[in-house]
């Protein structure tokens, strides 16, 4: 008998795009067909095509995009039950003919090996894909030293931002003396614009559990803690289910697979503070205190959670581990360039045609990631910059699009790899506004301990505010630069030390835009509200009154069938009139 599986992407991005009603409809349509399996899977990364439904018949699979309650009926009738593949909205096809196939083929999937493929709530599906084989291998045939050496040899570096060699970190924690040790997973994912950790936690939670257990074995720890942000309720739910199942099967708990090694795992919900992603603050938060960073040394490897030796890694870092153990360090280090080995997952968002998650070998040029995989900029707009590394990172301009994505090359631009968020910006983005956005972010999130971080960023924000209002002075640029250096030097933790980066890179690469605001009182991207005006062209206006009806503050007046006018002193620059005008009579200057 032939076997048919229908998969539906139910990561939180899929749900946000409308997967729930599609799933409900699918279940109703297939009610009388118990032989057909419906599988809820995580996010495969093609977020821009969601909701996604994949039909797999005897191993041959076809994926459909932008599925609606209506189109799922067609898919079920014609393909699932009728055996005829549909041609429209064909995203991926196992014979290679889907429109996104070329994009997927450019990727190498190590971290995302199971995302969007298995049901995260079913441990058997993980096991079927060689899940827990690495843990078995480690506890039955390797010494702790062999494990961390293998990870060290692979060249894996921390994917949470700084890029410290993971094997070395494990070695330090292993050599640290203590009866009790902790393995912590940093799943706080604080960088706005990055969502790879969320996808892995939701879509393949066992990969994190397995990676952490292997780390526990390598450093001699018997306790694990996943610190996950509370804004990710689905990730927390799936992790809880996975932990329970792993315990039942004996992959967690006492005497794992009869090896004498014991490892338990708990989840701590983060409580919504960006600074808690910093390791010492995270430790304080786990201990129930305010998440304030403290000076290092002592490093967590010597004194971490409750004063015990602790190893902290990022979600993506742990997700690589089981694969490395299973396939060997050589296989992993085959990918990459220089001191950056393996792959990196990037979260493509912003002004990009095909937003979502991609995993590519280190060293691929940014241009290839954005254009060949991400589909370039939508609406025929011009690329302006890509922001990498979140609040600690910077904006990379067009001239540097050929920079390879590896730690050293990205650092050389003034941005950082960070956790892998790539927010693409086009000609409609104002770089001063972006710099201001990041500063107000760190200003909000500073824990307040260091005067430079607390007050210095406030001063910078005031200056940038002034510039966006057209009240900037030429000397402001030097003042900003001076403050940048003082804040970098005078801050205790990474938050303050890196807070100036978005300002430094925008000044470095987009100085002309600063000058346009300061000297000409003009915002070239027409974003800054104080520097723009909405204008109705009396020649084009047909007097339909649509704009006046849509204006929330009644700034538009005019008689029917006569040209309308905007009162600039009342207008709040919401742009509603411009989108509502049927003849394109409204422009912004």
């Amino acid at each position: 008998m032939s076997q048919t599986i229908v998969k539906i992407g139910m990561g939180s991005c899929g749900i946000a795009a409308g997967a729930r009603p599609v799933e409900a409809k699918l279940r109703t349509l297939l009610e009388g067909h118990p032989e057909i399996e419906i599988r809820k899977v995580g996010c495969i990364g093609l977020c821009f095509q969601e909701p996604l439904v994949e039909v797999e018949v005897d191993g041959k699979s076809t994926m459909y995009g932008h599925v609606t309650e209506e189109s799922v009926e067609d898919i079920v009738k014609k393909h699932v039950l009728g055996g005829n593949r549909l041609d429209q909205a064909l995203v991926l096809d196992s014979d290679g003919s889907g429109m996104e196939n070329p994009r997927m083929d450019k990727q190498v999937r190590i971290v995302l090996r199971n995302c969007g493929i298995i049901d995260p709530e079913k441990i058997d599906e993980y096991i079927e894909r060689e899940g827990y084989d690495a843990l078995k291998k480690v506890v039955s045939s390797m010494t702790s030293e062999q494990v961390y050496t293998e990870v060290l040899d692979s060249g894996l570096r921390g994917r949470g931002g700084a890029g410290f060699p993971t094997g070395l970190k494990w070695k330090f924690a292993n050599l640290s003396k203590g009866d009790e040790k902790y393995v912590v997973c940093n799943a706080d994912e604080g960088d706005p614009g990055a969502f790879m950790d969320r996808s892995v936690l939701e879509g393949d939670p066992h990969a994190i559990i397995e990676g952490m257990a292997i780390c526990g074995y390598a450093i001699g720890a018997s306790h694990g803690i996943i610190y996950c942000r509370a804004e990710y309720p689905l990730a927390i739910k799936n992790l809880n289910i996975a932990i329970e199942q792993a315990k039942e099967r004996g992959f967690l708990g006492e005497d794992i697979m009869g090896s004498g090694f014991s490892f338990d795992l708990k989840i701590k919900e983060g409580a919504g503070a960006f600074v808690c992603g910093e390791e010492t603050a995270l430790i304080a938060s786990i201990e129930g205190k305010r998440g304030m960073p403290r000076p290092r040394p002592p490093f967590p490897a010597q004194s971490g959670v409750f004063g015990k030796p602790t190893n902290i890694n990022n979600v993506e870092t742990y997700a690589n581990v089981a694969w490395i153990i299973r396939n060997g360090s050589k296989e992993f280090s085959k990918y990459g360039i220089g001191k950056s080995r393996g792959t990196k997952v990037f979260a493509l968002a912003g002004k990009i045609a095909k937003g979502g998650l991609v995993e590519v070998p280190m060293g691929m040029p940014i241009r290839e990631v954005i254009y060949d995989i991400g589909g370039g900029i939508p609406d025929d707009k011009e690329f302006k910059a890509v922001q990498m590394g979140g609040p600690s990172g910077g904006c990379i301009p067009k001239e540097l699009l050929d920079t390879p994505v590896d730690y050293e090359s990205i650092n050389a631009t003034g941005a950082i790899m960070g956790s892998g968020g790539m927010v693409v910006m086009d000609e409609d983005t104002c770089m001063i506004d972006v710099a201001r956005f990041f500063l107000s972010f760190v200003q909000n999130e500073s824990c307040g301990k260091c005067p430079f971080c607390r007050i210095g960023t406030k001063r910078m924000l005031e200056i940038l505010d002034r510039i966006t209002k057209g009240e900037g002075k030429e000397s402001d640029i030097d003042l900003l630069l001076e403050l940048c250096h003082q804040i970098k030097d005078g801050s205790l933790c990474g938050l303050g030390q890196t807070a100036p980066n978005p300002v430094l890179t925008t000044i470095k690469y987009f100085k002309d835009e600063y000058m346009a605001h300061i000297v000409d009182h003009r915002c070239p991207a027409t974003v800054c509200p104080s520097l723009i005006h909405y204008i109705i062209d009396p020649e084009k206006c047909i007097g339909c009154t649509k704009c006046a009806k849509n204006c929330p503050v009644d700034a538009i007046s005019g008689e029917i069938k006569k040209p309308h006018v905007i009162d600039d002193s009342i207008c709040i620059r919401c742009g509603k009139c411009k989108v509502s005008c049927p003849v394109g009579a409204i422009s912004v200057e």
Binding site: C47, G288, G350, E445
Partner: protein
């Protein structure tokens, strides 16, 4: 908060002793303890904190210190639906500021406030991890993506109708 300060100590005992028992003698529990109080009362009620801190070996000032540090805790009761508008980078460049403005104008409240009918509380958050569908907001546990100002109002009105 003054209207709730008249609760009898008997009621405090009933509602809070199970929570106290759960954490007695354990370390590093301030955050889950506060979370449980918040679950019980809908917010971190002052008299509950005072009561619990007396029963356990934690000072009230330490508990308030933690409660005010994290965005998750509220010192005031919250509306039926909490709206979390994403103000992350991807959402920002895709126009979340105008979504946030429109929602605030429509509901007649500022960020952090609750509507008079107690239905909506408005919050801004740093990133919901659905950046590819920016701009995004969460209402309760549901994420809504690809928003425009009018679409966000429509969605909120659907919630209001549901009551």
């Amino acid at each position: 908060m003054s209207s709730t300060t008249t609760v009898s100590s008997n009621e405090l005992t009933q509602r809070l002793d199970p929570i106290v028992q759960r954490y007695q003698g354990k370390k590093g529990i301030t955050i889950p303890l506060l979370a449980d109080i918040q679950k019980e009362y809908g917010y971190v009620a002052e008299e509950a904190v005072t009561y619990v801190s007396r029963k356990m070996d934690i000072s009230a000032s330490e508990m308030f210190g933690v409660a005010t540090f994290y965005a998750m805790f509220r010192l005031q009761p919250e509306g039926k639906y909490v709206i979390r508008i994403c103000r992350g980078t991807a959402c920002h460049v895709q126009g979340s500021a105008s979504v946030a403005e429109e929602v605030a104008r429509h509901l007649g409240i500022e960020e952090g406030e609750t509507t008079e009918d107690g239905i909506f509380t408005l919050q801004h958050v740093a990133c919901l991890g659905c950046c590819s569908l920016a701009p995004v907001m969460m209402v309760g546990d549901n994420v809504h993506g690809l928003l425009t100002p009018p679409k966000s109002i429509e969605i909120l009105e659907d919630y209001r109708k549901k009551g």
